[in-house]
Every structure is written in structure tokens, then in C-alpha cells.
């Protein structure tokens, strides 16, 4: 009890130094937490991917289309429950700054395959009934102030021209891991317009979304689909939705690795700062420790005092950093919702924050503790005065 009292009071004895150290740790943990959240947000699509969905694309590259005629053949593969399809549209709203993911899809099957997109039944019916109807995520609609019934014009970047839609539905995510910044419209409308303007690009899709009857048969179904189109003009590559999404992250792997490295560098720097502070503190208290040893306190007691003090300072800073991470991440996510539609501080990030705090305390205290234990009492007492 007395040791606890001493270590707590020691931790806050030099108020300015303690404040600055705690502030440094809080900022470092905040930065670490945000960087880890950025990394998590890269993988948000992977985490949200369903194990019972497959994606089929052109085997050469995703930029090459597949004929719409594959639909029936895919549907006949054993284990396939439902087939949907779509194209990446790549439109912009008013100007290039207003970019968000937008696709044309076969709406009935697509919405059936994505139960995580929750639509009001009335809005869903209205969307399905209107060939020029569109659905936007709640965050996207809120960002541009769109309401049901609003006309929306997207400028095509891949398919030039102004494309007019009417917002018929706004979806919300089933949970907070669902991206609410997407925009969908009817593939039929897209195909009809393409037929008029560029007939040779009509009747083609960018991807097939396939629902399988059971997740455990997904790999076999994928193989059978690709086998069905072997040696055709457009061979297919079918993979799980998770693998498909991971493929996109692989393109940004260098960025993810760089962010990861920076997050660890932040922790390393603060570790050095806290270690220096602990070394200074311990040097100042050499006399106190010598006195305690003189009175009969042992190495364990001194270890508890130094490690305890490092832990109190580090965990206080970490707690402040963790608490701050949530509002800062929210603000950060709102500002960068285009790039990080799902920006959530995960439980794993918090565990890593706490682990980092313990690591900082441990490495900061280890050398000062060794020094305080090993110093002869007579030498320690000589430091006083």
C-alpha cells in the first residue's frame, strides 16, 4: 500500500514534466490509433465481405468485360443460388471533387445478394419500378443533401455524357461496418444508353456477383464456373468476395506498409522519450531508492516503484489518447469519407494501444530499474546533498 502511495505520488511529483510526458504519450497513442484505424479501414471491405458470395470477372483483367450471356450458364453451375451483375460506372457529381463509388447493377438480384444494404420497402419498390431510379447510401445522401425524388445527374468519365437519375431510395447499413457512400442504378438503363451511343460495348458486364448455397462449397463453385468458360473468348476468374477485395488492397500494399511502419516509428519515438524521462526521474531519486534499500526494502520493492511509476504515467497518457481517438477518428472519417467510407476504431486497435502503452512502460523502466537495483547503497547515498 505504501509502495503504491509512493509510486503514484512520484509519478505526479514534478507536475510539468509529468504533464508533458503524459501529453506526449497521449498524442503518440492518438496518432498510433488513427494510423491503425486507417489501416483497418483499408481492410473494411474485406472484413465486410460475405463468405457466400463470389465475384466473377474477366481472367485477363478487371477492365475487360464479360458477355451478359454468361448469366444463364453461371446460374446452371451446381451450388449457385443467385446471379447478379453490374458495371463500374465511374461517374462524378458536378465535378471531379465529388467522387464516390457508383455502379449499374441488376437491382433485384443485387439487393437480394446484399442484405446488409437496408432499404425501406416502399423506396425499394419505387427504385425497382423506375428504370432511371437510383439508390444512394445514407452518408452519401447526407453529404450532398439529396432527398428522395431529387433528380441527380452524373457525368460519365468512362462513358461520357450527362446521365440523369432520380433518387428513389436511400439505404442504411445493417451495421456500422457497411459502406454507406455507394450509389447504384439500373444496368438495363445503362445498357440501353450504351446501345444507342456505342453499340459494340452493349450487352457486356464488368463483373458477376454470385450467391452460393453454402459457404463451404464456394471454392468448388468458383472452379466449376471458371471451368465452364475455359477456352472461350472471354475466360473468367472467379474468387470469393474477400479475395476479390484483397486484390484491390494489394494494389495499395506499399501505402499500407508505409502507414504501418510510421505507426510503429511513432511508438518507438515515444518509447525513447519516456525512457529518457524515466532515466532522469530515476537518477533524481537514486537517493530515495538508496534510503529505502538502507531501511531494508529489497530489489522487488524498487522494481515495483520504478515500473509502477512508468506504468502510471504511460497508462494515464494512453487512456487520454484512447479516449481522444474516438472523436478525432469520427471527425477524420467525416472529412475523408470518400476515401475511407468505413472509418471505425476497432477493438483490436484499442488492444494494440494498450499493448503499446505496456510496451512503452516496460522498455522505459527496464534500464533505470536495473541501475537502481545494482547501485551500491553507499554510492546511492553519496548522490544526496
Amino acid at each position: 500500500m505504501m509502495l503504491l502511495k509512493i509510486l503514484f505520488r512520484n509519478a505526479f511529483h514534478n507536475k510539468l514534466r509529468s504533464f508533458l510526458t503524459i501529453l506526449g504519450i497521449a498524442v503518440a497513442i492518438l496518432a498510433f490509433g488513427l494510423l491503425r484505424t486507417v489501416i483497418s479501414s483499408f481492410y473494411a471491405g474485406v472484413e465486410a465481405a460475405s463468405t457466400s458470395r463470389l465475384v466473377t470477372r474477366n481472367a485477363i483483367s478487371i477492365i475487360f468485360p464479360l458477355p451478359i450471356s454468361y448469366t444463364e450458364k453461371i446460374r446452371q453451375v451446381e451450388g449457385v443460388r443467385m446471379v447478379s451483375y453490374g458495371n463500374w460506372f465511374g461517374g462524378i457529381y458536378i465535378n471531379e471533387k465529388n467522387f464516390f463509388p457508383n455502379f449499374c447493377v441488376e437491382p433485384r438480384t443485387y439487393l437480394a445478394l446484399y442484405p446488409e444494404f437496408v432499404l425501406e420497402e416502399k423506396q425499394k419498390k419505387a427504385f425497382l419500378a423506375d428504370r432511371k431510379g437510383a439508390v444512394a447510401g445514407q452518408k452519401l445522401a447526407a453529404k450532398y443533401g439529396w432527398k428522395i425524388g431529387d433528380p441527380i445527374t452524373l457525368k460519365g468519365t468512362i462513358y461520357p455524357g450527362n446521365w440523369d437519375f432520380v433518387l428513389r431510395a436511400i439505404y442504411t447499413g445493417r451495421d456500422n461496418t457497411v459502406d454507406e457512400t455507394q450509389y447504384f442504378f439500373h444496368w438495363t438503363y445503362f445498357n440501353e444508353e450504351i446501345k444507342k451511343m456505342w453499340p459494340r460495348y452493349a450487352e457486356q458486364v464488368g463483373f458477376y456477383m454470385i450467391g452460393v448455397t453454402r459457404p463451404d462449397i464456394a471454392p468448388d463453385v468458383a472452379l466449376n464456373i471458371d471451368k465452364a468458360f475455359k477456352s472461350s473468348l472471354a475466360e473468367t476468374l472467379t474468387e470469393t468476395e474477400k479475395a476479390f477485395n484483397l486484390g484491390f488492397i494489394a494494389m495499395a500494399e506499399a501505402i499500407v506498409t508505409a502507414i504501418q511502419m510510421v505507426s510503429f516509428v511513432v511508438i518507438f519515438i515515444i518509447m525513447a522519450v519516456v525512457a529518457n524521462t524515466m532515466a532522469m526521474t530515476t537518477r533524481e531519486r537514486t537517493g530515495d531508492y538508496a534510503i529505502m534499500k538502507t531501511l531494508g526494502f529489497g530489489a522487488t520493492d524498487i522494481t515495483i516503484l520504478i515500473f509502477g511509476e512508468a506504468l502510471v504515467v504511460t497508462l494515464t497518457g494512453a487512456a487520454i489518447g484512447i479516449v481522444l481517438t474516438f472523436p478525432v477518428a469520427k471527425a477524420f472519417g467525416q472529412q475523408l469519407s470518400t476515401y475511407f467510407p468505413v472509418f471505425l476504431v476497432s477493438a483490436q486497435t484499442i488492444y494494440m494501444d494498450i499493448a503499446a502503452a505496456f510496451l512503452i512502460a516496460f522498455f522505459a523502466a527496464i534500464i533505470p530499474t536495473r541501475h537502481a537495483i545494482r547501485i551500491r547503497i553507499a554510492d546511492g547515498l553519496r548522490r544526496i546533498g
Binding site: I291, T294, L295, F297, I377, I384, G385
Partner: protein, 236 residues
């Protein structure tokens, strides 16, 4: 005070001590042999570097001799391990230092209570003993003050209370008045004198102040690590 009839509480036999500074060996104490009787108030005097503090440290078990034996009571402390020495110090030695050496983050009462945490005394008893020790040094009104809020003399009185709270076999004091003004120094010396006279505490004090040495019953002089055997009884 006559000490000749009393039994020895500290027996020092043929003590040698050297310090090692890289490859250099610096002899500090040479063949020191003497006894300290129970209830004796001994002043160890000598110029700087004569080995007084080193000898005091050896007697108090915070340093180890290279050769020789030191018995305190029935214990040969030269044979004890570091852990055994720590436990022995906690039970048998009270320490008073020149710079008081109180823990700055603890109140006066907590500083005095500190050594009692190594005993089996319950919390209430610890507090009671510490309060009693503080009242013996006249500081019962300063219990809740931190060392930084007290004068040097008061801090040294707290240090004395901490030294006596465990009722140790011997009290060792290293220049206890070295950092005090004359009035405070007199107070501290009177207090130590009372501890010796009234409570029969054996005190071993290192000092180079003749006024402090005057209060001791026995004087011993060290010079360049050698004990002057001619000046045992305090002529002052």
C-alpha cells in the same frame, strides 16, 4: 557515563576495506579493531577521507568489509547475504543522515511509518507507533506536513523519529548536524543525548564537529584509515 562495565554490543575485529577505482586500489581502512559497549554514545572523528563514513557503513551493514569480522549483538554481519543484511538492517539499525534523506513525497508521519511496513504490525499499530515516535521528537503537530514544508531541524527530527520507530539495536548517525544551523544542531544533539541517556540507545555518530563530539561519551579518531587507540574516553 561509565561504559566499561557494560557488555559489548558491537565488536569490530581486524577490518580492512579498499575501494577499487578501475585498476587503482585505494586502501580506506587498515586493521580496525574496537568494541562498542551497549548504551555507548560513540563519536567517530577524523579529517575528510579518513574512513569514518566507510566504517559507519560497515557497522550499519550497508557496505561490506574486505577482511575482518563485525558482530552486532549476536550476529556476525560479515557473513550475511545482501537479502539477510537488508532484513537485519530493518530490525536492528536506525539511520540518521546529514541530509535527512526523507522521502519527499511522503508526509512526516508516512516517512516515520515507512520502516514499519517491513514488519508484521497491523496498519493501526504502525500509525500509532509512528505518531508516538513523532511526538517523542516534538513534532506531533507536523505529522501531515511534507519534508519540503519543514525546516532542516524539523526534517532531521523526523529522521530521528524514523530511526527509533523500530526500536533498533543501534543508531548510526552520519554528520547529523552537518547541514543545520547552530540552534537546530544543538536541538538535534540534545535529542540524541536524551535517546542515549534516557532510553539507553547505543549511538554511533560520525562527525568532524567538536561541538557535536562533545555530547558523546566515547571518542574515537580515525586518520588515513587507521584508528587512534589513545583517545577512547571523551576528553571534551
Amino acid at each position: 557515563m561509565m561504559t566499561e562495565q557494560k557488555k559489548s554490543i558491537v565488536e569490530i575485529k581486524n577490518i580492512y576495506k579498499c575501494y577499487h577505482r578501475e585498476s587503482l586500489v585505494v586502501p580506506v581502512l587498515h586493521d580496525i579493531t574496537f568494541d562498542i559497549a551497549e548504551g555507548e554514545f560513540l563519536a567517530l572523528m577524523g579529517p575528510s577521507g579518513s574512513g569514518k563514513t566507510t566504517l559507519l557503513n560497515l557497522i550499519a551493514g550497508i557496505d561490506k568489509a574486505d577482511e575482518g569480522k563485525i558482530h552486532v549483538g549476536d550476529v556476525d554481519i560479515t557473513t550475511l547475504t545482501e537479502t539477510e543484511l537488508a532484513a537485519w538492517r530493518a530490525n536492528s539499525v536506525g539511520f540518521i543522515f546529514q541530509f535527512y534523506n526523507l522521502i519527499p513525497v511522503l508526509k512526516a508521519i508516512e516517512n516515520v511509518e515507512l520502516p514499519l511496513h517491513l514488519t508484521t504490525l497491523p496498519r493501526s499499530k504502525r500509525h500509532e507507533h509512528a505518531a508516538m515516535a513523532l511526538s517523542m521528537v516534538g513534532l506531533d503537530h507536523r505529522m501531515d506536513h511534507y519534508p519540503g514544508e519543514m525546516s532542516g531541524g524539523e526534517q532531521q527530527r523526523v529522521a530521528i523519529a524514523r530511526a527509533i520507530v523500530t526500536d533498533p539495536t543501534i543508531l548510526v548517525a552520519d554528520e547529523p548536524t552537518g547541514d543545520l544551523d547552530r540552534v537546530s544542531a544543538e536541538e538535534i544533539l540534545s535529542m540524541m543525548e536524551r535517546l542515549n541517556h534516557d532510553m539507553g540507545k547505543t549511538i554511533i555518530m560520525v562527525t568532524h564537529d567538536p561541538r557535536a563530539a562533545q555530547r558523546a561519551s566515547v571518542l574515537r579518531h580515525l586518520d588515513k584509515g587507521y584508528l587512534n587507540h589513545d583517545a577512547a574516553q571523551n576528553p571534551l
